[in-house]
Subunit: 430 residues, 2 copies
């Protein structure tokens, strides 16, 4: 039934098959790097169409995954992440078309300059090569990651969660048929055809140089394992422990809107605020209404002694709470003695992801944005804008907190490298 | 005598001391990241001055290193790399002033755009953090690396070769006094105060997160060890196996100038050509004079059967020669059947460093430059232009062939990361 090779069950069989996938992906990457925008777009169009055409088969495969997950007693939240229906399948197809319609980053001249000796130097975007994506139960990652990697001219090796194995395989069959239809090699987007967990370890070793970068998509334990074991570069963030600091010169109305949005719009996203810092200069007027607004919106508040004084519903915050990404309707609240104290708190407990200051004092904002060493720093805006779509990147495969290469939202441009093109007229070096 | 702490001789002592250096470098990096251009420049000026003032002490320390190297029977070439004299010390000081006079990359706005909701997003350069530099016998690397790291706002941990230990320590004392004079922490530029080789292994592990990137400066075995063992990102190239391809539509005069320069200007630099590919379309007219010019210039030529026919002085090339960086006056010469064959040869045997095509056919040049996947590709210019100074970067700490972050010459801009600054007026995310 499947176009995928089946794997022997032994470790040597898995390793041989994975190395073969790596070699074929590397060869496909060379072809993709030179594919025209039109050819890549044709493949993306055909992929989206194939996903629509195969919607029923994809949902049937998904039903088998869900039945197994139910037998294994998975939680309703887990089942919901795993579940597909015709509307979700259509959203996947539309997502591929959205990526198709982004500007092609490959070949774009990033900089160009002339040297006194007449040499013309250009820095031009090229694909990274082969991207390994390791994810968990959400089957739509198969389509999203495939589209972003292909648009940016990269080959991809996708390793989905065991729980969504049948769903991902059905989606991958549609992707392969789209590549075929556009005359691109099916090895451009490979799905690891086994649930054997050893495949992940092999990917983290780089498949003998075949993988250029690994992107984990999933929970903290997955990201931690990938960051710990990978011998190739990783684009990821382990924690999104984001802060909103309400400075002494903040408007209460603006602070309330931003804090509520940063915490409560969606509590599970990595850009959700986890700690509210209120400056003692405005705590007398701002602390009580901010805490009340959060509580009234259904948020649990864990506060320091001052926050507990202003509202009896506030629970005591532990030392651990300051460093925790709750991922839920819970926030830690602390009164700080000023801008320096706020910055020191963010540096000590934060995760260098996204942090915001609310203030009408431009100098205070400038200092916060200079000194807080996070991928994204905001002034008078919600931390929930930490998102490739909101940045205008069209789509993202994740957010990175490392300092190398990709930092912040990882969209198609961040999935590229560059090369220098130098044009001369016979120049030799003296 | 030395301002450096001495290290206990046991492994636990080395580890504790190295972790302490890492922690102090990390703290210094935060101060350096916020240091003004004027303050960094004042430190660089004071460093250069201190090197001049201490020239005699530096040369005396160097004499001790040289005496030891002689006792140990080191080669004259090794002694020359190690040796300092007043002119070389002055060149070090002048090099620091040259780096001082480069534009400060930190704080530069790389991109800025407005979103429909009124958010203003800026991408701004920030330092990488702490850079570990591992090098061999050339003591001037101590000054060069210190200057480039400081100019780009980074702290540095320098680990010089055992053979130049006393020289590097004397140079480092001058650097420390320059930092002091400018009010910057001396931990901003640390020199590992031990010859214990275990210190290198500890740096490659990242000193518990204190090192953001490692840059090896030295021979192939050093680079190979660093690339193999490092658990943090590495900016380096293992090989510089560079090619010049003389296309069928090349001018003979231009090809001869470029080939001679690419091979013979300096044979030991990483951008020196190691293989000459001549297209069979012009071999009848171009092969003999190109080979003769190389031989007449004192270059050993190892050729395929056609190259051996045109000149009896040509030795046979082995399979291994195509993949070898000779680093000497030796070149491998091969006749290829066309552009595709040339590109395939470069991809099979090259090191993705720097490769050049000589041709008057623009379409052929464009195809070569698109398909050859090297950090630098040149048209009608010598491969010896692979150099940060020649690119206009002012100075370089090396050339990288990895695809992540820094590719090609690594100058002060490549020693930076970036952050996103987002300015709003109270925006929340719908």
């Amino acid at each position: 039934m499947s176009a995928q090779p089946s794997l022997a069950d032994d470790a040597a069989g898995t390793e041989a098959a994975m190395l073969d996938i790596g070699r074929r992906a590397r060869a496909a990457a060379r072809r993709l790097a030179l594919a025209s925008t039109a050819q890549k777009n044709a493949a993306l169009t055909a992929m989206a169409q194939a996903i629509r055409t195969r919607s029923r088969a994809i949902c049937e495969a998904n039903a088998e995954d869900i039945a197994e997950a139910r037998r294994e007693g998975m939680t309703p939240a887990f089942i919901d992440r795993l579940a597909l229906d015709p509307a979700r399948v259509e959203a996947m197809a539309a997502g591929i078309e959205m990526v198709r319609d982004l500007a092609d980053p490959v070949g774009k001249v990033m900089d160009a300059w002339d040297r006194p000796n007449g040499l013309r130097i250009e820095r031009v975007r090229v694909p990274l090569g082969v991207i390994g994506v390791i994810y968990e139960s959400r089957p739509n990652v198969t389509a999203d990651a495939a589209a972003l990697c292909l648009k940016s001219g990269n080959a991809a090796i996708l390793r989905g969660g065991s729980d969504s194995f049948r769903s991902s395989r059905a989606i991958h069959q549609a992707i392969s048929s789209g590549l075929d239809a556009a005359g691109l090699p099916s090895a451009a987007i490979s799905l690891v055809p086994t649930r054997d967990r050893a495949a992940v370890g092999l990917m983290l070793q780089g498949l003998e140089g075949a993988i250029d970068v690994i992107i984990p998509r999933g929970g903290k334990s997955l990201v931690a394992r990938v960051q710990d074991e990978a011998r190739v570069p990783v684009f990821a963030h382990l924690d999104g422990n984001c802060h909103v600091y309400v400075h002494g010169a903040a408007s209460l109305a603006m602070a309330r809107d931003i804090v509520l949005n940063a915490k409560m719009r969606r509590t599970s996203v990595c850009g959700a605020a986890e700690t509210l810092l209120v400056d003692e200069a405005c705590a007398g007027t701002h602390l009580r209404p901010l805490v009340a607004a959060l509580l009234d919106a259904g948020c649990e508040v864990r506060g320091d002694s001052l926050a507990r004084i202003v509202d009896p519903r506030v629970k005591p915050a532990s030392e651990e709470d300051w460093g925790t990404e709750f991922g839920d309707a819970i926030i830690a609240v602390k009164v700080v003695s000023g801008l320096g104290d706020a910055i020191a708190h963010v540096e000590r407990y934060g995760s260098h992801h996204t942090d915001a200051i609310v203030t009408n004092d431009q100098a205070a904002a400038d200092r916060f944005m200079a000194e807080v060493d996070s991928a994204i720093v905001l002034h008078n805006a919600s931390t929930q804008f930490a998102d490739g779509g909101e940045f205008g990147f069209g789509a993202e495969i994740g957010i990175a907190t490392g300092r190398m290469h990709a930092r912040g939202p990882v969209g198609v441009e961040q999935l590229t490298s560059f090369k220098y093109r130098v044009r001369g007229t016979g120049q030799t070096r003296p």
